[in-house]
Symmetry: C6
Subunit: 78 residues, 6 copies
């Protein structure tokens, strides 16, 4: 596993909170794939970050990924 | 577990209603991550809180998180 | 369980139709949490109730909650 | 079970196609609950039925309900 | 099973790719149900097929149906 | 299995990251099916790639497909 290109070695996290952080990463990665130019993304960010509807939409994507990560971790039920 | 930074120690709640409250927290956290400035979020709130479509969209995010929390708690079937 | 504040004692219902009614309640609760002022919600209602896209969006939220309630009840199979 | 008010006695259908029809019924019911006035709904129908985005949104709600109905029927795997 | 009216005899397909094709059929069927007039649908098609947001929305509906079909086929794990 | 037409031989991948890449492929395929003309898609791309809301919507479709792929791979839990 070469560190450089691997950004998603596993869906397993120690805590729900780390799982939520991973869901955020996954949602950002989905955007980054479609718009690989970091400069353009950075330019868009202030715009949508002040648009309530965009923030809600981002939150929805995070929620969808969190479903996946939570299931992967059997909901951290131990 | 240091209290300060931990906001999501577990997905387990005692009742469905507490689970619903947790789903609300998770949906807000998704927004807060993208727009970390509480002042900006506060400024947007009155705006979208009076916009029916935004309220419905928030309700959808809550519904998605509630699916996760409910599954984690085996639907509180006991 | 104090009656006053408890609006969601259980996800279990006797019939699928009662489960659908519960899904509607859950979707309304998601809206009510974000806009707690009943007067404002009432003012918005006629507006979005005549907007086809808003009605469809509400129907989507209900569908998402109905998934949860149906799973909780093991789809009322027997 | 009094026939009059019962529109959803079961999620079980004999075939996938009947299950799809039930998903359509469920999505319409979600709309009908929010806008109970059939006249208003009828007035909106021609409008959104010619709006591609509305049709796609309706199709999404049907897809969500079909997930539920299909799971209830164990995907008609027999 | 009379061939004429049966368009969905089963959710089972031989390969994932056939399952994806079925998901597309299901998403189109959801639209066709709401707007049964093929002429109107044909008139809308060029319009939304050039609208990026509509295409993404269609892709989302397909994704939702593909979840159902994939689960029905136990993900073609053999 | 003739190589030419088979683009989805399996949902199984070796790593979560490859699964995420497959989810991206699936989301693009959903778009390509509706608008098969690659030239038109290419023309739309720069437009939506600079539209924050479109990028978020694409990210949502990827998230939905990633749920499917992750479940197919039993979340790469080994």
């Amino acid at each position: 596993m070469s560190g450089g290109d691997t950004w998603l070695p596993s869906l397993i996290t120690e805590t729900p909170q780390e799982g939520f952080a991973l869901a955020i990463t996954l949602s950002q990665k989905g955007v980054a794939t479609t718009q690989p130019d970091a400069e353009v993304r950075k330019a868009e960010r202030p715009e949508y970050a002040e648009e309530a509807d965009s923030l809600i939409a981002v939150s929805h994507v995070i929620a969808t990924h969190f479903q996946t990560v939570a299931a992967a971790n059997d909901y951290w039920r131990e």
